[in-house]
């Protein structure tokens, strides 16, 4: 790999060489994320092994004999070394086989309903927090140091500092119990989805509000950095309208930092779903994860982690891509 390629040379498949380093970078990033996910899954297997008790005991009736328990342990394969079980599980992964739970159901069946629900909730929350953060951050930037800026600064800090369950309880009291505007919990319909779209509003807001706080601060900070750059200063001195300066000169430069912030939010959102889904009875994987850990149900825990991990990895990859492209643009 010592051959130097002349700038502008065309690579195989007719792609312009300028994109190639980016594509290679993405491929490398993807590979790195996959390895990370595999390490994480190995960690899941190891961690559950370290917890007290095992799936055979956790999913048996109280008072079964030790002989029955041993038989169940064998039936679940728990008598085999954890590394072996991990390898078996991992090798099934490419075929879409996530294994069988300690209660004898296919992990894919258990997740088939809840995972899309969580994905929907998470995606909506992420979209809402992105839109909210961009709007609030930009609004504050247009009035630097003003009352709006200070108010948004204080509120976003407060929102980010609030745990999801505090936000949830407050929203529940105000929007459901006092006003009766929204249903208090989600009831699952025959298709495994919430019976009504109104049921998703409270969990959505509970998840999004802390993340709006977090991302607003990032947007505001990134825009402040941009404001200090010479080309932005020049644009302002040229007398361009502030909105135009914001949209054409500051936001593009702030994009990489914002993308990373939003990607970070994805991880925090997933953590929040465990609490929020339980509180609002939303049929997602948060509740499944909590139950599976209690049951020491390794394949199910790993299944949830793999599904959520894949979704988040994809998001991080996109964030990376946005950053690479934006930085590439800048270098040009």
């Amino acid at each position: 790999m010592t051959t130097l390629q002349p700038a502008g040379a065309r690579a195989p498949h007719g792609l312009p060489a300028r994109i190639l380093p980016g594509a290679g970078r993405v491929a490398r990033q993807a590979a790195r994320r996959l390895v990370l996910l595999a390490v994480l899954l190995a960690g899941v297997f190891a961690a559950i092994e370290l917890f007290p008790g095992d799936a055979a005991g956790a999913t048996s009736d109280r008072g079964v004999t030790s002989a029955d328990l041993a038989a169940r342990r064998t039936a679940l394969g728990l008598d085999r070394p954890v590394a072996e079980r991990f390898w078996d599980w991992m090798t099934g992964l490419p075929t879409g086989d996530l294994g069988t739970t300690a209660r004898g159901r296919h992990v894919t069946d258990v997740l088939a309903g809840p995972f899309p629900n969580t994905l929907l909730l998470g995606t909506l929350a992420l979209a809402l927090s992105t839109a909210g953060a961009l709007a609030l951050g930009s609004w504050a930037t247009l009035r630097p140091g003003g009352r709006t800026d200070r108010a948004i600064d204080a509120l976003s800090t407060a929102a980010y500092a609030l745990p999801e369950f505090v936000v949830s309880v407050a929203l529940l009291l105000v929007l459901s119990q006092w006003t009766g505007w929204l249903p208090a919990v989600t009831l699952t319909g025959p298709d495994g989805r919430p019976e009504s779209w109104t049921m998703i509003v409270l969990p959505l807001l509970s998840l999004a509000i802390p993340q709006i706080g977090w991302n607003t601060r990032i947007v505001r900070g990134a825009l402040a950095d941009q404001a200090a750059l010479p080309h932005v200063q020049a644009a302002i001195l040229d007398g361009l309208p502030r909105r135009r300066v914001l949209s054409h000169h500051m936001l593009p430069g702030a994009l990489p930092a914002v993308a990373v912030g939003i990607a970070t939010s994805a991880g925090m959102l997933l953590g929040g779903t465990v609490v929020v889904e339980t509180l609002f009875n939303y049929p997602g994987i948060g509740a499944i994860l909590a139950g599976a850990i209690t049951d020491r149900d390794t394949p199910l825990v790993a299944g949830v982690v793999a599904a959520a991990g894949a979704a988040i990895s994809l998001l991080l990859l996109i964030a990376d891509l946005v950053r690479t492209t934006a930085l590439g643009d800048e270098r040009r």
Binding site: F51, P52, G53, G57, A58, T59, S60, D61, R62, G63, V64, T65, D68, A71, R72, T101, R103, G104, R105, V110, G113, P114, F165, V166, S168, V169, L172, L173, S176, Q177, G180, P183, A184, V185, L187, T188, G189, P190, D191, G192, E277, T278, L279, F280, N281, P283, A287, I288, L289, A290, G291, A292, T294, D295, R296, D297, L300
Partner: protein, 519 residues
Amino acid sequence: MGVTRRQLLWAGAGIGAAGALAACSSGTGGSKDAAPAGTASSQPRAGGTLKVGALGKASAITRDPHGTQANESDYLIISLLYDTLAIPGTATNTAPRLAASWKPSEDLKTWRFTIADGAAFHDGTPVTADDVVWSLQRLRNTPAGKSRLPGIQPEGIKAEDARTVVLVSDYPNADLPLLTRLTTFVLKKDTKDDAIAGAPGTGPFKLDWYRDGNARLVRNDTWYGGKVLLDAVEVRLFESPQAMANALLAGQIDVASNVGAVAARTAEARKDVQILCRPNDMAMPIVMRTADGPFADPRVREALRLAVDRDAMVKQVLSGYGSVGNDILGTGDPAFAKDIPQRKRDLAKAKQLLADAGFDTSQTYDLITTEDISGLAESATLFATQVREAGVKINVVKQDSKIFWDATWLKSPLYTTYWGTNDSVVFFVSKTMLSDAGQNEAAFKDPAFDEAYRAATATADAAERGRLLHRLQEIEFAQSGYLLWGMADGIDLAGAAVRDLPKLPGYGRVQLEKTWLAR
């Protein structure tokens, strides 16, 4: 911060009646029904859909009637769809269901169960003895089968004719029908394991749809057991009692099944919500090891029983939703010995007994507990404070549930336990107090006790049997390793229109065929 996270979560349900006294709409007294007096709603009427919330974990769903049921929601759905041979009763422990009647042989070893007239599966096929035999054998062959049908071998389950099933016990057992109350769900003979989920039952409701632990069931118009009132029952799974209480208070569900005392307290201010108490639902006794260790001397155990302030326990641990216990398990049983005088707090006598027994009061003793159920750890803490007044120093140790059931249960000198599924005197005697019982929690061994039990199970004569059951309870009261300070009520919340919900403790709460809606 004086507010814990749990309290804050409950705040969502509008907590505020913290000091208020427990008030059950009906149940024990049955007099304070929330229904507006004088309305014409006292006559049961047919129709309507009842939405019931029940606790469960989406990760632990099972649809196999003979499987390990961790979810109350699953058990409810299964019980509406399928019938057991017998169900828990009020006047007697065991009431008929799919089996209309039963009769023992002279030696109480062979029992003949007759299938109810007109019993049929939802697809119209009549229930035969072969179906029952196949189902019971399937149940018996599950890992927990031996403890579900103790003393009955798979070969001992036979069909005598099309309508008669014979169960043969290894030993005389006057209480054998008790065993048929809980998981003896009947399916069609030779139902394949992978077809269990959609298999037709014989119950009062038929399956409309099922999804991830939630279900809709519609009335079985041809049910052999009588007229079913509701058009449909919708069961919704709830991971947390908080969310279930919120759903009820918001009117999204009609019943919050077994939602607990904390939810009841949050609902006390609401006139449009019924708080229904089912007495004798949950026992959470303290276990004192009798075989060895610091509590082996009966005088020490007696002293602790005298040192506990039972009224305060019920009031504080159960928020008043419960009743005082008398150290005898099986309080809901018609055979429960109500005439044995209630043990009351007597610190002077307790101290005297401890001194007589030479109990080392300079030591601190560990009381091991878990947070498996609401109030359990709190009961341990309050108990420790109370017995301190008798000079006994107790240190409460909260243990992870898995460690507890592995390392503490059946082994440690002092720990808390709980029982929520069965209520008969004989159940506890046979499961937890016989010398060779598999779940002998206090390692209790008393030949006279074992002898009285064997005599009782081999006695058909009701009066003689009653005398023997009384004898068992006397020994239990005086000697056993249990300190039963109280019994927690089972608590359901219901909307104002709901009528005639089951009032029985434990799994007696799942029969909804007589429930109706006044709206």
